[in-house]
Symmetry: C2
Subunit: 156 residues, 2 copies
C-alpha cells in the first residue's frame, strides 16, 4: 500500500478538474508535492486531490496563490490534518466570506436606494454621487472592504 496508491498526472488532472499545466504550476509554486516515477514522471498521493479541491474553492473565493500557500502551510504536510488544523483555517475563511457577503449586501442596499431615488438627481443619490464621495474619502472607500477590492495592479 505504498507505490501502488500513487496517481499519475492524467488521473489527478481529470479527477481534480485542473489542467495538467495548472497542476505543474501549483507544484512549482509549492502548493502541492509530487513523487517521481523511475523515469521522472509525477506520481501523486491521494491527499493532493483534497489540496486541489481546497485550492479551487479558495481561488474561487478570491484568495491569491500566495494566500493559498499560506493557508496550506497551516496544514501539516506529513500527518493527517486534525480537527484543530481545519478549525484554524476555516475560522480564517469564515471571516473572509462574512466580509464579502456583508460588502455585497451593502452594495445591493445602495443600489436599491438608488432605484428608489431614480438617480435623476446628482445631488440626492449616494450612488450617483459616489465619485464626489469617493474623492473625499479616498478611492473606493467603504462600499467594499479591501478583501473585495480589485488589487490595484502595479501598485505595491
Amino acid at each position: 500500500m505504498d507505490s501502488k496508491d500513487l496517481l499519475p498526472m492524467g488521473e489527478i488532472s481529470s479527477r481534480s478538474g485542473f489542467a495538467a499545466s495548472a497542476i505543474r504550476y501549483y507544484e512549482a509554486e509549492g502548493l502541492i508535492e509530487a513523487h517521481r516515477s523511475g523515469g521522472g514522471q509525477r506520481r501523486f498521493e491521494r491527499s493532493v486531490l483534497r489540496r486541489l479541491a481546497f485550492i479551487r474553492a479558495a481561488s474561487n473565493v478570491g484568495l491569491t496563490i500566495e494566500e493559498i500557500r499560506d493557508e496550506l502551510g497551516r496544514l501539516p504536510g506529513n500527518r493527517t490534518p486534525t480537527k484543530a488544523d481545519w478549525h484554524r483555517i476555516s475560522r480564517h475563511w469564515g471571516a473572509r466570506l462574512d466580509d464579502q457577503i456583508a460588502a455585497l449586501q451593502r452594495l445591493k442596499g445602495g443600489l436599491d436606494s438608488c432605484i428608489g431615488c431614480g438617480c435623476l438627481s446628482l445631488r440626492s443619490c449616494a450612488f450617483s454621487n459616489a465619485g464626489d464621495w469617493a474623492a473625499s474619502q479616498g478611492p473606493g472607500a467603504q462600499l467594499l472592504p479591501d478583501s473585495l477590492r480589485k488589487p490595484h495592479p502595479t501598485k505595491r
Copy 2:
C-alpha cells in the same frame, strides 16, 4: 452654461478617485467620452463622474471592462438617463449581487458543516471530497456560479 461647465483631467481624476491614466484608458475603451480644448486637452462633462462611479462599483463587483461597456451601453449617451433606464440596469445588477451573495453563503455553509465533521474522513465530508465530486460534476461545479468563478484565463 456650455463650455464653462466642462471639467479638466485633474478635477475628474481627484473627484472620481481614478488615476488620470485609468481615465484615459476608459476613454480609449469607449466607457466614457471627452471633449477637447483648443489645444487638445480633455474636457469632461459632469455626467462622466456618474459614469465613473458606476464603473468603480461595477468593477468592484467583478464585472469586466467589456461587461461594463455593455451595461453603460444601455444608458443613453445623449439624453439624461430616465428612471426606467436605471431600473433596467439595476435589475440586472441586483440579480448578480443576489447570486454572489447566495453563492458565498452556500460556500460558507459547506465550510461550517465541514468544521462539524472535523474533516478527518475523506469519505464523509463534502468539502474534502470536492475533488472527486468536482470530477464527476465537471470542474468547480455548483459551489459557485459562473459569475463568481475565476474566468479561466487564456480559454476563450
